[in-house]
């Protein structure tokens, strides 16, 4: 559990981070979003003491951060950066095994763990273990970066725009894999990005920053429905908010049971998003879809009206709450 309380950071006369208070619950992914220079990377680096904060308190698992030995602290926290930071003179296997080696794990345990992680990140051991970073593609290199961060099984993972340097297709793939990984491992992740869609996709908790301050924080849905000011709204896509909101909801949560009428031509799997449903309706020029499960068996229906109404209902329910 990470807690920042009235934390500030000043470089000379320049205030990079101005009195932020933030709490990241255990096992949740907290995304820090904002434009360049808003202080999100600085905030991240204060957590593993790469930068020392000027004032305020940072508390990790109940203990103030200053009480930890900084080197030992960093070995307990995973760190992934945009340029991967892989050591070019070490093989993939050696790179991944870095922190376990620093912690003096027995060699057999280290190689077992490396193999496990490579499997987890989709890197076949035979093919990749002995390759060198310059022989990997961008996506492969970043997978190694993530594997390296997870090697010593830390509770906390810090990620600084990890997918920023990748092409959109690879980026999406890795975002998916991270989501799946998180569903399995439940690490406490602090994730910095300037890509709002990425943040909306992955975050349990969204924090919007500007000029070193936190402008708004909350769940992605809450921010989409109730942006605090025009800045946040434009960041969230302005008019596109509706679609982004739809992207966060699953079809199965909004379908109705099969009616007496003939099932619609177009079929959509139950775990797709409402946004994909809307897109399919536009594509197929219809306003009704049949919802199917993994075995392509119809299990429900989804209508355009339902989607729009649901959005309204959501809003109403929020206001009542």
């Amino acid at each position: 559990m990470i807690e920042l309380s009235h934390v500030s950071k000043q470089f000379g006369d320049d205030i990079a981070v101005d009195d932020i208070t933030l709490r990241v619950a255990k096992g949740k992914l907290c995304a820090l979003v904002g434009t360049s220079g808003c202080g999100k990377s600085t905030t991240l680096r204060m957590i593993n003491r790469l930068i020392d904060h000027s004032s305020g308190d940072i508390i990790l698992d109940g203990q103030a951060i200053e009480q930890y030995d900084s080197v030992k602290l960093r070995r307990r926290i995973g760190y992934v950066i945009q340029s991967t930071g892989l050591f070019p003179h070490w093989s993939v296997a050696r790179n991944i095994g870095l922190v376990p080696r620093l912690l003096k794990w027995p060699a057999a345990e280290i190689s077992a763990r490396v193999e496990e992680l490579m499997g987890l990140l989709g890197l076949p051991v035979d093919e990749f273990a002995h390759k060198y970073p310059h022989q990997l593609s961008g996506g492969q290199a970043q997978r190694v970066g993530v594997a390296r961060a997870l090697a010593a099984d830390p509770d906390i993972l810090l990620m600084d725009e990890p997918f920023g340097a990748l092409d959109p297709i690879t980026r999406e793939k890795l975002q998916d894999e991270l989501a799946k990984l998180q569903a399995r491992l439940h690490k406490t992740i602090v994730f910095v990005t300037h890509d709002m869609d990425e943040a909306l996709r992955l975050a349990d908790q969204l924090v919007v920053m500007r000029d070193g301050r936190i402008v708004q924080q909350g769940t992605p849905l809450a921010l989409l429905q109730h942006p605090a000011d025009p800045f946040v709204e434009s960041l969230l896509g302005g008019l596109e908010r509706g679609l982004k909101q739809a992207a966060l909801t699953r079809v199965k949560d909004h379908m109705t049971s099969l009616g007496p009428t003939l099932p619609a031509q177009s079929r959509i799997p139950a775990d797709f998003t409402l946004r994909q449903a809307l897109s399919m309706m536009l594509r197929d020029h219809c306003d009704r879809l049949t919802v199917v499960d993994q075995n392509d068996v119809p299990i429900g229906e989804l209508s355009l009206r339902r989607i729009v109404k649901e959005a309204q209902l959501d809003k109403v329910s929020q206001r009542d709450a």
């Binding site: 009235h6 500030s8 000043q10 470089f11 000379g12 009195d19 000027s54 004032s55 305020g56």
Partner: protein, 399 residues
């Protein structure tokens, strides 16, 4: 609003009193050197090595205290660096440099027995160390104050002239001066020869080197061959090359009368010049080649797109942009040539090296000094002068 807001935030103070550690160490080192090492040495004549004297014996307490005060002042000023303080330290350094010959004078007055005409004063390690460290301080100050290379060069030039004046007028006891006065004409002639050899060699290798580099850029195959050959040449010790040219040139001089009439012979200027040019070629060619290669292709493309012909592009774009790196090459070559010319003395080419080798042969260290010091100073002057020129001609005025 929590209480924390009421407290003043601890700001990141850039401490203005962060001392300049380098100058601090250097001035303390000078203080230590002045007190711990021997200041001067006095010998009754040329052959016998002298007895050494510390600072107090040499310039007595008033002098010692003055010197110490100077260094302590420098240390104090270095603790609180600011442009004003740096300039003050510069002033103190200049003062110390100007006082140095006076220190020798005073030491000579106190320590040298006037009844012994051959008695001489030798400069001790304390002096050399302080001089060296002062030069280091100058380097550091130049960097901190952001001065161009001209300033310290001028400063040192002025100091040098002042020293020359002092030496000529008042420092008869100094062993160095005595050696010099004994063979003044020889010295000037050696100096002239040295400079002549260096300039000729560098001049020829600049022209040859540039032509060769330009040819190599046009004909790629020539490049590999040329570089291999030049690299090989550099592995031959200079000594050997000088020696190896003796016989062929002697043979040439014997059999081709026109060459002999020109002054070519087995020993002397001819082999020295040829060897010097050979050694100067590699750095010259390599630097010119790289300088011409590294001019931004984008700039040249733009020039081409605007309708400049090849020769115009070369002389108006590529060459001026390559000039600073080229001058660096000339600088490196010249400094190397100054050193190599000293070795050329072994094959009778003259130059300041003659004093070195004669002195070594006679075990007269001050004669060695008479040869070695001017060579060092010459090398440093060439380095500073050409370096300043290169800096001045750099586009954008960067360092």
């Amino acid at each position: 609003m929590s209480l924390i807001d009421a407290l003043p935030s601890p700001s990141f103070k850039r401490r203005p009193w962060y001392p300049n550690v380098v100058l601090l160490c250097l001035s303390v080192a000078m203080l230590a050197a002045a007190w711990l090492l021997s200041f001067v040495s006095v010998a009754p004549n040329r052959i016998v090595s002298g007895t050494t004297f510390g600072i107090v014996d040499a310039i007595r307490w008033p002098g010692a205290i003055l010197v110490s005060l100077l260094f302590v002042a420098m240390t104090a000023l270095a603790c609180v660096p600011s442009p004003r303080h740096y300039r003050a330290i510069l002033g103190l350094i200049t003062l110390t440099l100007l006082l140095m010959p006076f220190g020798l004078m005073v030491a000579g007055h106190w320590l040298v027995d006037p009844s012994l005409p051959q008695a001489r004063l030798g400069i001790g390690p304390a002096y050399w160390s302080v001089l060296f460290v002062l030069l280091l301080c100058l380097v550091e100050l130049r960097l901190r104050l952001g001065l161009s290379r001209w300033w310290p060069t001028l400063l040192l030039g002025g100091v040098g002239v002042a020293w020359w004046g002092c030496a000529a007028l008042w420092l008869d006891h100094l062993a160095l001066v005595q050696e010099f006065q004994a063979r003044e004409q020889q010295f000037y002639q050696a100096l002239r020869q040295h400079i002549a050899l260096v300039s000729t060699a560098v001049g020829v290798s600049v022209v040859l080197g540039m032509s060769l580099a330009m040819l190599m850029r046009r004909y790629q195959r020539l490049q590999k061959v040329a570089f291999t050959l030049l690299n090989f040449l550099q592995t031959i010790p200079s000594l050997a090359l000088f020696g190896l040219l003796l016989a062929p040139l002697a043979w040439l001089a014997a059999n081709v009368p026109t060459l002999a009439a020109l002054g070519v012979s087995g020993i002397g200027n001819a082999p020295a010049l040829i060897a010097l040019i050979a050694y100067s070629l590699l750095p010259m060619v390599r630097n010119t080649y790289i300088a011409l290669e590294e001019v931004s292709e984008d700039t040249l493309q733009a020039a081409k797109a605007m309708g400049m012909r090849t020769s115009q592009r070369f002389w108006q774009v590529r060459f001026p942009l390559a000039l600073p790196v080229l001058l660096e090459g000339v600088r490196i070559t010249s400094v190397q040539a100054v050193g190599l010319t000293a070795v050329a003395a072994l094959i009778g080419a003259g130059g300041l090296g003659t004093f070195i080798f004669q002195g070594l042969g006679q075990a007269a260290m001050d004669m060695v000094l008479l040869g070695a010091l001017p060579i060092l100073i010459l090398a440093l002057m060439v380095d500073a002068g050409l370096g300043a020129l290169a800096d001045a001609l750099r586009p954008g005025g960067q360092e």
